[in-house]
Symmetry: C3
Subunit: 276 residues, 3 copies
């Protein structure tokens, strides 16, 4: 039995998520449904792209991922289903899969065509559930849509590299639960462009000359604990998703604040790496 995941901006108060799960269980009694996130900022495609990229790859091959963010059907917002990296994705064609698909080419993309006569404001329930159950039962993509060659690209997930190739100009694409600020600069790109050169990371008025792999690399454990004063210090690291992140050690958005609030870094702000 295939596993079906849900990534939406529905929140968890309303009936939307429950309704979708009920509908899946009504079609597939033994379905296994996993929530990835329902707290995407409403209509936020970049957030979705980041969350999805970092979650999906941990699931078993053959998993089916339903993405319900800005998914109302229109002539400009088609519904697509893809096979990519041996996972299935069902989503609007609004760029949501750009971060995954920029690294791994989709094997097959179809425009979903099963809803010719449905007028609905809840397409995840009316359309995506049907597509997911079809695939879970072993159905092919051809039955539920017609093949298309391309998906919509989301440009802001890709940083800019200057002509001299000594500067990566990225931007903030995500702020996490701890207020840590995540840029679109991947470790892979950093290494390709940097080629081992020394560097400076610049985010607003903050600069960093080293990039950690763990948050607690900032701690000097040989200093007695009472003299450390490390909580609340800012650092740059490649996070577990391998993106360059500006973090505050042991931050808490609700009390002391996080990198986003303390350093004044917001979604779309510039993060630059300069190589020497």
């Amino acid at each position: 039995m295939s596993l079906i995941t849900l990534t939406t901006d529905f929140g968890t108060k309303d009936h939307f998520v429950g309704a979708v799960k009920g509908a899946i269980y009504s079609e597939l009694n033994d379905a296994k449904i996993v929530d990835i996130s329902h707290h995407i900022s409403p209509f936020h495609i970049t957030e979705t792209a980041y969350i999805l990229k970092n979650a999906y790859q941990n699931f078993p091959k053959g998993s089916i991922h339903i993405i319900g963010v800005d998914s109302e059907l229109s002539i400009e917002n088609k519904h697509i289903a893809l096979l990519l990296d041996e996972h299935y994705f069902i989503c609007p064609d609004n760029g949501i899969i750009s971060m995954i698909a920029s690294e791994i080419k989709p094997e097959k993309i179809v425009e979903v065509t099963i809803h010719k006569n449905i007028i609905s404001s809840f397409n995840v329930l009316d359309v995506f559930v049907k597509v997911a159950c079809h695939i879970a039962r072993g159905g092919t993509l051809d039955v539920i849509g017609k093949e298309i060659p391309e998906y919509k690209q989301l440009t802001e997930v890709h940083p800019h590299i200057n002509d001299e190739k000594n500067k990566i100009i990225g931007s903030v694409i995500y702020i996490d639960n701890y207020g840590n600020v995540i840029s679109n600069i991947s470790k892979k790109l950093f290494q390709e462009i940097g080629k081992g050169r020394t560097f400076k990371v610049i985010a607003r008025s903050n600069t960093y000359t080293s990039i950690f792999q763990k948050y607690n690399e900032i701690v000097n454990y040989s200093t007695p604990i009472e003299n450390r004063q490390v909580d609340g210090k800012s650092l740059a690291l490649f996070n577990s998703a391998n993106y360059l992140e500006i973090a505050i050690y042991k931050s808490n958005l609700k009390t002391v604040g996080g990198a986003s609030t303390l350093l004044g870094l917001d979604y779309r702000d510039t993060v630059t790496v300069r190589f020497n």
Copy 2:
């Protein structure tokens, strides 16, 4: 194996939800438990009624729905179990099932009597779990309670119709994740009273002369995208639950605001439809 759903005001930080799930799994090893919502506003019966009505009907027949909102037992707040529309509901008798039961008559209602000697402030754990597991194992309602003819009615879920039958005076019963404002005026009632006449929807200082079926019906796709200025516009539609909703196109409560904040519409505010 029956499916058990949970609808509560417990929130998801505390141990309450985990404790309830653990207790169910301890009794029924192969239970399938689905969260409908744990973010009902504390003690909010109308919100619960709305969420429950729109979620339950998507689940398979025979599902068991536990509702833990204002469920502490007292002589004025009995516990009941119902069979209704081939679904089971376990809840306090405080009006929570009014929106469902006003359309579909319960087949059977029992007052739960298994807890004669339990003094507890966590009745969902101590009582509702036992009732749910009893039903899931195929037990009958008669064993866990005595039949009663009536459940408590919640009046505010029903709009008022004037004597001339040219006006429906409803009220706001729910505000969703996007800040959209949902009234207690159903599409069915609107059509019954309206009989095809032209109309005006009035909510505070806002009036609408058409009611959409989809949010993006407000968009004129023949206008070039840069000239549309449709984000943030307000509209009336029958939402996916078939209730009259005042919405803001692509709203976000945390940034630009939603219908509730932008139009100043709150729970219990009046929404009127006037027919010509």
Copy 3:
């Protein structure tokens, strides 16, 4: 198949929880995963201890509990796995299990040693999942770590008793979804020290001379409902977890407020019981 629970401070917006679940399902196709909480305040060990104690005991014996709060490995923050009360716990050695282990002695504690070469900022994914799946498959603790005699104690979960044994000086360890304020004074300790004497509970400027078992014991049901004025009244009770709690009847943090906001009681504030 063992049941695996998750208690973390990850929040439910980011990809962290989804990633962990995906990784478990990739190793154990038929795993049963249950969320206890993902909304622990970041790095908050006392909150975790309280939630965990009250949730775990409802789960079937043999369940495996993953705890991801302040879990980044360092020379001062080891990873441990325990067998305690026939449940398995996988967590950092930072005091998180103090509330459970203070009442029930662990049968076995091992320091996890499978991650000698892992440099990672997401140890729940990289380490705890592997340990949990190992145990779920029937593996022993000895294979994944070396036995240690002790776990780190968290002192603030234990109240102080004066020499005359007529006073319990406790503190607030948790504030729940309703704003109710929970102290570290257990019913068991209260009875042991009190020995049936009359008493006064003091929390800031509020005193209580009785402790209820249910919230609605504060209601006098013989008074007509319109004359009761009981909503918003404060009371002391032993909550369903058997800890002394200061509550507001039918509170709501977002509207009228809860005990925490109305009585000015915060985490770590003193709650005292004086016996006569």
